[in-house]
């Protein structure tokens, strides 16, 4: 017995169970740029780790291991989550798009999962922020798998879907109302002086926390605002571009990068994530380019951005829709002009093609979306004339191959409003992306892939008319998500 007692004592000695539990970043004051993680353990900067962070000593079983925020998403249908750990489904996704397991689970990853994962079927939820002059309507549009539904949201501005909280399934529908970002039963206060333009979900700091990056302007210009949804903490980031904020990956440094437009201009900037002051992530917004052309009727010069691996190099490419359609095949210079394919005119063609008279035909404000598939394509809509095309773009020659969609016969005839927003998602669970097109009067059309196998006979079908009292909206911002069904 004495021997056992002595052995127990020896075991006890030298085994101080060092497992420090932090509650705030300020608790983590060892090493450089200490941070308190979701598991209440401290990390510090370590460039040798993929996420540039390593658990501090005294962190229990995690001590001195590299920090990783990858998770197995409970909801593969929702973008804006941390990168995925590889399992049967996500492994196939990440084989095609490594960024999904290395940088973040973006909308491109959701679309790839819908195509590649045989057991994944999602419902579709589209938050619509429709603008017309000084009027804004917020619509919550949903496809359950069997029927469409639409609900006018009472919040004041910017309706968007954010990713589910970590380990949960339900995405969060947020909007700004009464100086707060409101979702579910939560209202996180925001500054009254900020004019919010965007609300996006992204694992911006690679900390695995539920993070929203908001875009706003104020008297000093455009800014991003990183907001932690679990405690409402915010920090501003200076940027020249803040509209139509869209997240993807350009420089493959494991931190998500973004594209955003500059105010009401045709300029847009790459927002490349960089290590900033005190090792907090910031954005480098110096890479910029502008769309060509113009349009009458005052539509937004930049309607939206999209991310798709267009050239099959397993890297995301950027597409910008607006006065022109700019396809940047990301090769390092991201949105530089050296790898740019630019479309304009009606019918759309390469801007340097003889058929595209930029002086006579370039008055367009394209809406569009990428259509990932065995043959990647773009779906773009002209403006102000109503037309919708499936466009296959080849790098050499750059002459696009167009396949027009036929609209159903409607009373408006030639006066029918143009399509001003396009979303691509798998609606019917056949693991092929379908097209959802919304016109300026908020009529919703769909083109299911299975009904459009013959590219010569592409057709849209009416889906739902949103019960709005307004017509001729100029711009629609869409935010898409879903949940497994």
């Amino acid at each position: 017995m004495v021997t056992r007692a002595l052995l127990a004592l020896v075991a006890l000695v030298g085994c101080v169970h060092a497992d420090y539990q932090c509650s705030a970043d300020s608790d983590c004051n060892l090493g450089e740029a200490g941070r308190c993680e979701l598991d209440h353990r401290c990390t510090e900067l370590d460039p040798a780790c993929p996420t540039l962070r390593r658990y501090s000593a005294l962190s229990g079983p995690s001590s001195s291991t590299c920090f990783a925020d990858q998770l197995a998403p409970a909801n593969l249908c929702a973008a804006g989550q941390p990168p995925a750990v590889e399992d049967a489904c996500t492994a196939s996704v990440c084989a095609a798009l490594p960024t999904c397991c290395e940088v973040g689970w973006s909308e491109a990853c959701v679309q790839q999962a819908q195509r590649a994962c045989s057991d994944l079927t999602c419902d579709t939820r589209i938050a619509i922020t429709a603008n017309k002059a000084a009027k804004t309507e917020l619509w919550d549009l949903r496809w359950s798998g069997a029927a469409w539904s639409a609900r006018l949201d009472p919040r004041r501005s910017v309706l968007a879907w954010l990713a589910p909280a970590p380990t949960t399934i339900e995405p969060r529908l947020v909007g700004f109302d009464r100086e707060a970002l409101v979702f579910d039963d939560t209202a996180l206060p925001v500054a009254a002086t900020h004019n919010y333009l965007e609300a996006t979900s992204v694992d911006f700091d690679r900390d695995g926390r539920a993070t929203a990056v908001l875009a706003y302007t104020d008297a000093s210009g455009a800014h991003l605002e990183v907001m932690k949804l679990d405690d409402g903490a915010t920090r501003p980031i200076a940027t020249a571009a803040a509209t139509r904020l869209s997240w993807g990956d350009v420089d493959h440094d494991v931190f998500p990068d973004a594209i955003a437009g500059v105010g009401a201009s045709s300029r847009y900037n790459l927002l490349s994530s960089i290590d900033g002051a005190a090792h907090l992530r910031e954005v480098d917004d110096r890479v910029t380019t502008s769309m060509t052309g113009n349009s009458s009727g005052n539509p937004p010069p930049v309607r939206s951005f999209d991310w798709i691996d267009f050239d099959g190099d397993h890297l995301l490419d950027v597409v910008a829709y607006g006065y022109s359609v700019d396809l940047h095949l990301g090769k390092g210079d991201a949105i530089g002009t050296s790898t740019l394919i630019r479309l304009d005119c009606d019918p759309p063609g390469a801007t340097n093609a003889p058929s595209c008279d930029q002086l006579a035909q370039n008055e367009q404000a394209f809406a569009g979306a990428a259509l990932a598939g065995d043959v990647p394509a773009l779906v773009i809509a002209t403006h102000p004339k109503r037309a919708l095309y499936r466009v296959e773009v080849r790098t050499s020659p750059t002459t696009p191959i167009l396949h027009p969609y036929n609209f159903p016969d409607e009373a408006c005839g030639a006066a029918c409003p143009p399509i001003i927003a396009i979303v691509t998602r798998d609606l019917d669970g056949d693991h092929a992306l379908d097209v959802i097109a919304i016109d300026a009067d908020l009529r919703v059309y769909t083109a299911l892939a299975k009904d459009n196998l013959d590219l010569a006979k592409l057709a849209l079908q009416p889906a739902i008319q949103l019960p709005t009292t307004l017509t001729d909206f100029l711009a629609i911002r869409t935010s898409v998500t879903g949940a497994p069904r």
């Binding site: 004495v2 501090s56 005294l58």
Partner: protein
């Protein structure tokens, strides 16, 4: 001398007594082997067959060797009563004298049983054990204090690191104290075990011997 006399008697036995001679032959063997009991049985058997006087002398010798002095004297006297030669009477009488002398001796007195040794727990033992116990208790306190410090997660990580370092130091001090205390207690017990009050010199009382033994029990 006695052995010689017995041999002489046996050698003098006539060869004609075949059966008695067989017994006598076995007597020689048994006698040489020191098996006096069976030698006596064989002699008695031979005497039953042929009651020779010299067999009475031989029986006396065997009984003498067995320490049965009274029967030995009886056999010698019976031998003398058979009117042997004068030298044989002298031998028998000499043997009777020896037997009677041995018969008069007192048996050796066995030494009284020695009382079991006992240990004494003295004041020195108490002092050593008390100091050891106090040291051990202090050590356990240090160990538990260190464990408690390690469980205190308040404050910043740097403060916690200092606290853990302090806790580890306290635990090692505690461990050393516990070890020292345990050693002291062990030493006290060992001292008690070795400290025998009757670790005395015990005389050996036995005839024709002298000496001492030192008895100790572990």
């Amino acid at each position: 001398m006695k052995r010689f006399a017995l041999a002489a008697l046996l050698l003098a036995t006539p060869a004609a007594a075949q059966t008695a001679d067989d017994h006598l032959a076995r007597v020689r063997t048994l006698y040489d082997q020191g098996d006096f009991i069976h030698a006596r049985d064989e002699l008695l058997a031979a005497y039953q067959l042929e009651p020779r006087p010299e067999l009475l002398f031989a029986l006396g010798q065997v009984e003498l060797n067995l320490g049965h002095f009274a029967p030995a004297i009886t056999y010698y006297e019976q031998f003398i009563a058979t009117n042997p030669a004068a030298d044989q009477i002298a031998l028998a009488q000499q043997a009777i004298g020896a037997a009677r002398a041995r018969l008069g001796e007192k048996p050796p007195v066995a030494p009284p049983p020695r009382p079991p040794p006992h240990r004494a727990w003295d004041r020195v033992d108490t002092t050593i054990a008390a100091l050891g116990g106090a040291t051990l208790a202090t050590g356990v306190g240090f160990v538990l204090y260190g464990d408690h410090l390690g469980d205190d997660h308040t404050g910043s990580l740097a403060a916690y690191q200092r606290r853990v370092s302090h806790a580890e130091r306290a635990q090692w001090i505690g461990a050393a104290s516990v070890a020292a205390g345990a050693l002291a207690i062990g030493a006290a017990v060992l001292r008690w075990r070795l400290h025998l009050i009757d670790g005395e010199l015990a005389p050996i009382a036995a005839p024709h011997t002298a000496g001492v033994t030192w008895v100790r029990r572990w």
